[in-house]
Symmetry: C2
Subunit: 360 residues, 2 copies
């Protein structure tokens, strides 16, 4: 039932509503924009007319006349599909709630032209704000340009948290520490670590967490047990190669993300090393893949959707300072990670390998 239609000419406009409600278009406009100074009775009449005519304000006319922008950009450089999808859905949900459109902008964070490209984007599409996901959130030159452009932007999980500006972070360091402690509690003392891509902030923080845990447990940090990965499955394979060929193999490996953990696991299978009996493997991120491999990976879930939503909320808090419905929750207060224990980690083989003394 497409409601009442007036003489066949095109979509319903604000004038139709005004006529139908017996008020001026300005009053209709007031009601539409939740402005004060409208008698409740009038407000109701207008709303009813809107309803009855199935009126929808024309977004183009609105942003033209109001000189306002209602598009939020999302710049990302292909982390995993699941990461993108989560960020996307978190941001999308929040945008819908606050009446913004979300404009996706896949990009290459290594492209020297990135700052110009983003600038173009902002100017061409008249963006109201911008969300940056890692590693785009760490491109110094881009941040510099954005600052001087005076656009409102929010970084998700940036390396540098001292920088002024908006951002949403997770405590990667504490998460990685907890994961490492989990392994230590299981009895592991010789724990390999696969670092993530050096351009991603999370890589550094996660490595710190690993070190924290070892240190607080009185276990020495052994160079040969720490290898450099790139967050990809392939790099996991390579790192596994290095780690599993050591004369004294680690009893557990902590990979900075699930893709690399899957790589190590894959290699272990190839080599006939039984997981978790002979080798424990844990990952990070709780991607769908982590459940699917065999054995399922112990990993760490981050509330990515919620982080993306929080990013939008931060943006909106700046863009529309006196907006209603904006939860006044302390930022990050509700954002907690969660250790997901599955089958890929268990106590080390009994007596198989005596744990080397801390400072031997």
């Amino acid at each position: 039932m497409p409601a009442v239609k007036r003489g066949g000419k095109g979509p319903v406009t604000i004038d139709d509503v005004a006529a139908s409600a017996g008020v001026s278009i300005k009053t209709v406009s007031r009601v539409l924009n939740h402005e004060p100074n409208v008698r409740e009775a009038t407000r109701a009449r207008v709303r009813q007319a809107v309803e009855q005519l199935n009126y929808r304000p024309n977004p183009s006319a609105r942003s033209l006349a109001g000189n306002r922008a209602d598009i939020i950009g999302l710049a990302y450089d292909n982390p995993s599909d699941s990461y993108i999808t989560n960020v996307l859905h978190g941001a999308l949900g929040a945008c819908q709630e606050f009446d913004y459109s979300l404009l996706l902008n896949p990009c290459d964070y290594r492209d020297p032209c990135l700052p110009q490209q983003i600038t173009q984007l902002i100017e061409n599409r008249r963006l109201a704000g911008l969300i940056l996901t890692p590693p785009v959130s760490d491109v110094a030159e881009l941040l510099r340009v954005l600052d001087q452009l005076e656009i409102t932007y929010v970084s998700i999980a940036p390396i540098d948290r001292e920088r002024p500006g908006l951002y949403v972070v997770m405590n990667d360091r504490a998460g990685a520490r907890d994961m490492t402690l989990h392994l230590i509690e299981l009895g592991h003392r010789r724990i390999g670590f696969v670092k993530g891509h050096p351009d991603h902030g999370a890589s550094h923080h996660r490595f710190q967490g690993y070190c924290d845990a070892l240190r607080q447990s009185g276990i020495a940090i052994t160079d040969e047990l720490v290898v450099q990965g790139m967050f990809s499955f392939e790099s996991g394979l390579e790192c596994g190669e290095r780690l599993l060929c050591l004369t004294t193999r680690p009893t557990a490996v902590f990979a900075s993300n699930d893709d690399m953990a899957a790589g190590i696991l894959h290699l272990a299978h190839q080599r006939g090393i039984r997981v978790p009996e002979e080798l424990s493997i844990v990952g990070y991120d709780d991607t769908p893949l982590s459940r699917v491999v065999w054995p399922s990976l112990t990993t760490l879930r981050q509330p990515i959707q919620e982080m993306a939503r929080a990013a939008v909320e931060q943006l909106v808090a700046i863009l529309r300072p006196n907006h209603a419905g904006l939860k006044a929750h302390a930022p990050h207060e509700t954002l907690r990670y969660e250790l997901v224990v599955r089958q890929s980690a268990c106590p080390p083989p009994a007596g198989a390998r005596r744990p080397p003394r801390d400072d031997a």
Copy 2:
């Protein structure tokens, strides 16, 4: 270098360009819209002014004055992350090329309100066109409503290919047939099949392809070897359960997608059934997961990005009939699937199980 700026007031408008080029705004408009009837010299002058002032037409003003829509909607109901991401990037690329915006609309295909929701979306956002991915592309009531709304839309991989209207399809049936033949050529005769979610068109076509292959190879279709899955990893586990407990187990299982194949593989590992030595498993879709599991899955790649791009092109061909740059390629001509042979399938165990006679 933000190019030359005129007195501090706001963004560059068409008037600035007109003034700078010494022409009327109408001429500038003509150049911008690639309209005929402009002298080449004038055209050049205008272009130069545009360049110099770094002028960007205001999209809102454009669509308001021109009463034109430049947003294409994408309605999808969460298939896998990788599917979404591929569709998204394919569509996004094409949209950018043709100067459309892409508006994402995640939805629930079982929601009885879906038709109204989509109708709202189309009206609220003044969509120029709409892309439907499976299984949304098969919701009969939605299609009916869209038809009477007279909006241009294109379905990706719909079940019903006789229906008038735009669509992009892959030959799922032939793909599944080829995959099955691949197993048969390896020597398998007792091949399990895991059907996909019944609401997805692909499920039916893929099952048909399986049947085709068996039939043309003179192998009987055995009821107990065909089980109903739901395209999810969990359903793969369940189906594996049924298939692997048969008194005479299949020597190979063809799952209609990778997630389910991973489920079967996972279960086989749990049961200590060696893959592929004792059991071959193949999937469909070539999702990232298929490489990562061990052993990597033999699967079938579909050009999803290209299909999404083709969908946009079809839309644009209708929306802007006399658009340049639109490749006049026969639809689907270039869209080919590809069998990806990896390690999860090999010849059946020698003599372990005598292949039952076709019509025994």
